[in-house]
Each structure stands twice: as structure tokens, then as C-alpha cells.
């Protein structure tokens, strides 16, 4: 079976009978708030819905006067993320322009330069929405990612096979009250049922030929803002997943990969304190094909994607990186084999032969 570098697919082995049973019989279980201890947390149907709610709240509070007002965003996000933003604001790549807010994206779970970004935000009086879709855990200078801004957006389904689930962390109590009310007003259960069904079918078929399902999935993105509340059955499934050592396994796999690739340039700039969504490896240009072939030989559906090596939304430096999975669907031995083969493919520590 194919291994996806990005979220662990919602494949059948991942959804065992026990998980189904958990939907029906789970108890209160784990807290959903990744930042428990401060602020307020609202479980949402998706990360995109959470982002929408945050922007909608900035509109409601007057920080974003109308939908043409610019909000700083990172480059290379999925088009569907920008699309949902347009309901409330206008995404912009220009830090020199007039801005009303910033969306800071901890790409693949690796922290942005929050010192530089926070200083910029304070100077310009901009609220920060931290996009923690890839950073459900992790920290920057000892402080949890998600706790730097006014809002933090999470996407549980990128880490736990639970169909679709997200969350919005909010610092301010008034904002929390507003958002809870808005989420109730916006919610259309029939659209949520549609999106959940399409997402489930899409993910189950992800190993096949999902052309039509891809299109259907895109249609569902168009209404993610219309069903912001998390589904009750998904909550039960998620609680069961949260009780598993999923994040510990992910961190362990990341440790194994680091050990296997130690001494190479492939891990350049990647901090060990992260809990990565996936790992963007730096591959020398003359070894790109070999490294890609080595990864694919393990069944990994991967490729080269842009990664901001500067870790700074304001002045990014996007370079191609090879994505490698470290999710809980892989055991330590598998990760070690992947690392070893990649190390061999990028011979001589990346130097030109």
C-alpha cells in the first residue's frame, strides 16, 4: 500500500473496528484543546472552517472593515485555503502594503521566526492568526506554537484519522463568545453531511484513481464555512485517537530519521523539538532524481515541495524539499530503512561526485 508523506491517509487499516466501536462507546476522553491551560478552544469541522471563523471575528470586531482589506498570507498554500479567506478578507503576499492581519503558517510543523514576525505585528498593530494545521504540537524558544497570536487554527485530521476535524484557539474571552455564536448561526448540517461523506469516500479511495472524487472534494471546500461545528461522531472518533500515543510515535519516528541522517545536510535547519507533520529534506540538485526514486521505492507518494528556509512569512526563501513521512502508520524500522536508503541515494554527504 502507498504511504503518503502528508497526513496519514484515512485508510481502512487505520480505521479499525475498535475505532468504530469508539464512536459509539467512548467516554469523555482526552481534551481536544492542544493548548490547554490558556485561552479558549472551539472544536470545528475543519481547519479551513476555523480560519474562516477567525477572519469572520476580525470582521465582526471591526479589525477587518471589509473583504477587500489585505491579510498577509504565506505563499504556496493550497488554493482552497485562500478561497475560503476571500469570504472575509483579501489574501496578500505583500508585507509592504496596508495590512489588517497576518496568517502565520508553521509549515510541516516547523516554527516560523516568531521573534521577527511578532515584532512586525506589534509595530503595525496587527492581529496574528497562527496556522497550526501542521503544528498540533511543537514549540518555539520553549513556548507552544499557537500561543503567540490572537487565534490559532488546528487541523486534527492531518494527524489523526478522523475524517475531518479542526479547531480554533482564541486568546480573548469576548472573541470566544462571538465565535461560538457565529458558528451556531452559520452551521448547516446537510452541508456537513455532504462534506463528511465526500471526504470519507475520497480518503478511502486515495490509493486508487480518485479523479471524480477530487472534484467532489473541491466542491465541498466551497461550503466549509457553512458547517463550522464539529460533528458529534467525529468528536468521539477523535477522542479515541487522542488517547493513542500517536504524537509520541510521530516524535519517535522523527528522532529515528534524524539519527539515520545525522551528519548530512539533508536535515539542514530543521529543529529537533518539532513534532513534524512530515519532514522536508534538503536534497542536493544533482541527487534529486536518485533521492526521489529511493523514497518512492518504499511506496511513498512524494515529490519536491516548496519549504520556507528563512521561516519568515515576511521575507521567505522558498526552496524545493523532498517530503518524507514520519506519521504513526510507520514504525521505527521502516523509518530507519527509508532514512538509510535516502542517505545512500544522496551519496558523499551531498557533495558532487
Amino acid at each position: 500500500m502507498a504511504v503518503f508523506p502528508t497526513p496519514q491517509p484515512f485508510d481502512l487499516p487505520a480505521l479499525r473496528f475498535a475505532d468504530f466501536a469508539g464512536i459509539l462507546w467512548s467516554g469523555p476522553g482526552e481534551t481536544l484543546n492542544p493548548l490547554s491551560g490558556e485561552g479558549f478552544f472551539i472544536p470545528t469541522s475543519s481547519g479551513k472552517a476555523a480560519l474562516c471563523l477567525a477572519l469572520q471575528d476580525l470582521r465582526a470586531s471591526g479589525r477587518i472593515p471589509d473583504k477587500n482589506v489585505n491579510v498577509m498570507v504565506p505563499k504556496w498554500l493550497d488554493y482552497a485555503v485562500y478561497s475560503v479567506m476571500h469570504l472575509h478578507a483579501f489574501p496578500s503576499q505583500d508585507p509592504d502594503g496596508e495590512l489588517a492581519a497576518m496568517v502565520v503558517y508553521h509549515q510541516y510543523g516547523f516554527a516560523q521566526d516568531m521573534d521577527a514576525i511578532s515584532a512586525f505585528a506589534v509595530e503595525r498593530g496587527l492581529p496574528i492568526i497562527e496556522d497550526c494545521a501542521h503544528a498540533i504540537a511543537g514549540e518555539y524558544h520553549g513556548r507552544r506554537l499557537g500561543s503567540f497570536g490572537d487565534y490559532a487554527v488546528f487541523s486534527f485530521s492531518k494527524f489523526f484519522p478522523c475524517i475531518m476535524a479542526g479547531g480554533l484557539w482564541v486568546r480573548n474571552a469576548d472573541a470566544y463568545e462571538r465565535i461560538v455564536k457565529a458558528a451556531g448561526r452559520n452551521h448547516k448540517p446537510y452541508l456537513q453531511a455532504y462534506s463528511l461523506a465526500i471526504r470519507l469516500l475520497h480518503d478511502l479511495a486515495a490509493d486508487g484513481s480518485p479523479g471524480l472524487l477530487n472534484r467532489l472534494l473541491e466542491t465541498s471546500y466551497a461550503v466549509y464555512d457553512r458547517h463550522p461545528r464539529i460533528n458529534a461522531l467525529v468528536v468521539r472518533l477523535l477522542r479515541r485517537q487522542l488517547a493513542q500515543p500517536v504524537l509520541r510515535m510521530r516524535r519517535n519516528n522523527w528522532r529515528v530519521l534524524r539519527q539515520t541522517l545525522a551528519g548530512t545536510e539533508m536535515l539542514a535547519g530543521l529543529e529537533e523539538t518539532a513534532t513534524p507533520y512530515c519532514v522536508p529534506l534538503k536534497i542536493p540538485n544533482h541527487r534529486r532524481d536518485q533521492a526521489l526514486a529511493a523514497a518512492r521505492a518504499h511506496g511513498i507518494r512524494t515529490g519536491y515541495y516548496k519549504f520556507d528556509e528563512a521561516r519568515n512569512l515576511l521575507y521567505p526563501d522558498f526552496q524545493d524539499r523532498l517530503l518524507v513521512p514520519v506519521h504513526q502508520g510507520l514504525d521505527e524500522a521502516a523509518v530507519a530503512r527509508i532514512g538509510k536508503d535516502l542517505r545512500s541515494a544522496v551519496a558523499n554527504n551531498g557533495a558532487r561526485p
Binding site: 477587500n68 485562500y82 469570504l87 496578500s92 505583500d94 509592504d96 446537510y190 472534484r215 466542491t219
Partner: protein, 343 residues
């Protein structure tokens, strides 16, 4: 009956058109650079794909200046292939100019700015029936990549758009995209029926889900390029001419009726617009829109760029009124009287 901004159509008329073409030629010809598409965003997608393939747009982070207050689905189509900006910046590759409601932008000023900054032009003509840029002598014709059109806004059809370009390679590129793969045909089928159901059922008790159904379909309609056969058989030369003449007459009648009020001073006499944006004194817009709504004319209040320049827009709130060919002299007089009564 509720009158909206678009010319209504009958289901019988659509069914007849589906069964049989009357043999008259389509009003826009391929040899003049026209490619018929499913919708305006299909045409835009074809153009953006072409610009990506030819390297004019390096990747999806390449920026194009776009008009403010456009439909979110337009921005969505951009985001699939590049990045729309709504403020000028030094990283722009091109600009989309939008002749809002059919009234031309200040093309001479825009052309000069684009020539200085090395920007290409995509002409958003969704509220027009021909390319203003192509017919303008004061602009650099080489800057224009092409123009996109949306026929349901002007004529009694469910769905249909077009791309007009003087670049034969782009025209061929767009035609080669149609009819596309199975998913494209699926997108076309869904988009067509979603639009039809929304047009006919929006104000019924199931209006909400129908609007949502259309929102779902619009997310993928730009993947399909093929114009529906019904639309092709409706948009014939004599029919289009008659509808445009009627629209011009309606607009002229409205203009003359309201000329003394100043509500149309910012608009050109003799235009054939999509709708007429009326500039009314502060505090009057809501009352006029409500009065029109009571009379059955339901459009509302929108922002109109009175500076007519995408680089330096100046948006003002205006009351929109319909002028489409489904309306007659009595309707236009009723609209004018309603507006006058609230001014």
C-alpha cells in the same frame, strides 16, 4: 414576479433550443478569435493555463492585479493557477481590468501604466458583449492577452461564456481543452443544472439548498470548457441583435427619465450595460433599493468604481437597476418613477 438583473428565460425555450437549432449562425465567430466556453471562468482558466505553459506566469505565486469587490469564485479560479492581488505592488505580472456593469475602464491610463510596468492585460468583459479594449484606439493592443465573457448576464441562457483573443495559439489552446476529460463533463452537467435550478427556485422554500448547490458546482465549473448546445442554438445573430437593441433602448429611456436627477451623470449615454448603477445622495440608497424591491425589482446596493481604473479605484455605493431585454417601456418607466419618488 421578481425581476432580477439578468434577462429571464423560460424552460420551454430552453427545451426547444435543446431539441433543435434554428440554423442561424452563432453571434460570435471562431475566425474572429472567439472560443465559446462553459462560463467566463472556464475562459479565464484556459487563459491562465496558457500563460503558465508559456512561462509568462512562472508559477502559482505569480501575481495578477484583480478588481476589488469581484465574486469570490473569480478569485478562486485565479488561485488555482496564480495569485490575485487587489492592490498594485512591484511583483505584479499582469492586470485584469473589469468593465464593471459594462461601463469601460479608463483604458488609456491603464494601457500607459501597463506599458511602463511591463504588465499584460486580461480583459474581464463579463458585463459586456464585445471587447472594449479591442475597439479602443488609445491603447496598446499588444498588451491584451484576451477577454472573457459571460452570456447569462446579458442573454436568456442558463450557462455560457467565451474567450476572445487575437493570439491564434491561445485560441487553439482553449479549443483543445474542450470537451475535456470525464470530470470536466461532470462539472459541466452539474454546473448547468445547478444554475438552472437556482435561477428557477431561488425564491422558493428550497431556495437555500439550491443556492448552496450552485456554490458547490461553481467550485468546479471552470474545469469544463464546452459551451452547452442549448446556449449555442439560442445565441444566434438575429436574436442577439434584437436583445441588445432592446437593452440599449431600455437604458436610454432610463437615462432620459433620470437625467435631471443627476443619478446617472457618472455614466455614458448610449451604453448597453449589464445594469445601471444609480448614484444617489447619502442615506437614500437603502430606501430606493427597498422601494424597487417592493415593486418586484430585486438587485440591491453594490460598489461601483467611479474612477474606472483598477490601479486607483474609487468605489461608491450605488443602487443597481435592471435594463435587460426582458423589460419593456412600462417597466423602465416604473423603475424611473420609483427612483424619483424616493430621491
Amino acid at each position: 414576479m421578481i425581476v432580477r438583473e439578468t434577462q429571464p428565460y423560460s424552460l420551454v425555450g430552453q427545451a426547444v433550443a435543446l431539441r433543435k437549432s434554428n440554423g442561424a449562425p452563432l453571434a460570435w465567430r471562431e475566425e474572429d478569435g472567439w472560443t465559446m466556453t462553459l462560463c467566463a471562468r472556464s475562459a479565464l482558466r484556459a487563459m491562465l493555463l496558457y500563460l503558465r505553459e508559456t512561462g509568462v506566469l512562472a508559477d502559482k505565486t505569480a501575481q495578477i492585479l484583480t478588481p476589488q469587490w469581484a465574486c469570490t469564485t473569480l478569485y478562486q479560479t485565479f488561485h488555482k493557477l496564480c495569485f490575485p492581488a487587489n492592490r498594485p505592488n512591484r511583483d505584479l505580472s499582469g492586470v485584469m481590468i473589469y468593465h464593471q456593469y459594462g461601463f469601460p475602464q479608463n483604458m488609456a491610463a491603464i494601457s500607459e501604466r501597463c506599458r511602463e510596468d511591463g504588465l499584460f492585460v486580461i480583459e474581464n468583459s463579463v458585463n459586456c458583449f464585445d471587447s472594449h479594449w479591442r475597439n479602443c484606439k488609445d491603447v496598446d493592443q499588444d498588451l491584451r492577452i484576451g477577454s472573457i465573457f459571460s452570456f447569462p448576464k446579458l442573454f436568456p441562457v442558463v450557462l455560457g461564456g467565451a474567450l476572445q483573443t487575437d493570439d491564434a495559439r491561445l485560441g487553439q489552446f482553449a479549443r483543445d481543452l474542450a470537451p475535456g476529460e470525464a470530470t470536466s463533463r461532470f462539472a459541466r452537467f452539474w454546473s448547468y443544472w445547478a444554475r438552472l435550478l437556482d435561477d428557477k427556485g431561488r425564491y422558493s422554500i428550497i431556495g437555500g439548498p439550491l443556492v448552496m448547490n450552485q456554490a458547490l458546482a461553481y467550485a468546479i465549473s471552470d474545469y469544463s470548457q464546452d459551451m452547452p448546445a442549448t446556449t449555442k442554438s439560442i445565441l444566434t445573430v438575429p436574436a442577439v441583435k434584437a436583445w441588445l437593441d432592446r437593452r440599449r433602448d431600455n437604458y436610454t429611456r432610463l437615462y432620459e427619465s433620470l437625467e435631471s436627477t443627476g443619478a446617472m451623470d457618472h455614466l455614458e449615454r448610449g451604453a448597453i450595460p449589464y445594469v445601471a448603477p444609480l448614484k444617489v445622495p447619502d442615506g437614500k440608497a437603502e430606501g430606493i433599493a427597498a422601494a424597487l424591491d417592493e415593486e418586484g425589482f430585486r438587485i440591491g446596493i453594490y460598489h461601483f468604481d467611479t474612477n474606472r481604473n483598477v490601479f486607483e479605484p474609487h468605489f461608491e455605493r450605488m443602487v443597481l437597476v435592471p435594463v435587460h431585454a426582458g423589460l419593456g417601456n412600462d417597466d423602465m418607466d416604473r423603475i424611473a418613477a420609483t427612483v424619483r419618488s424616493r430621491l
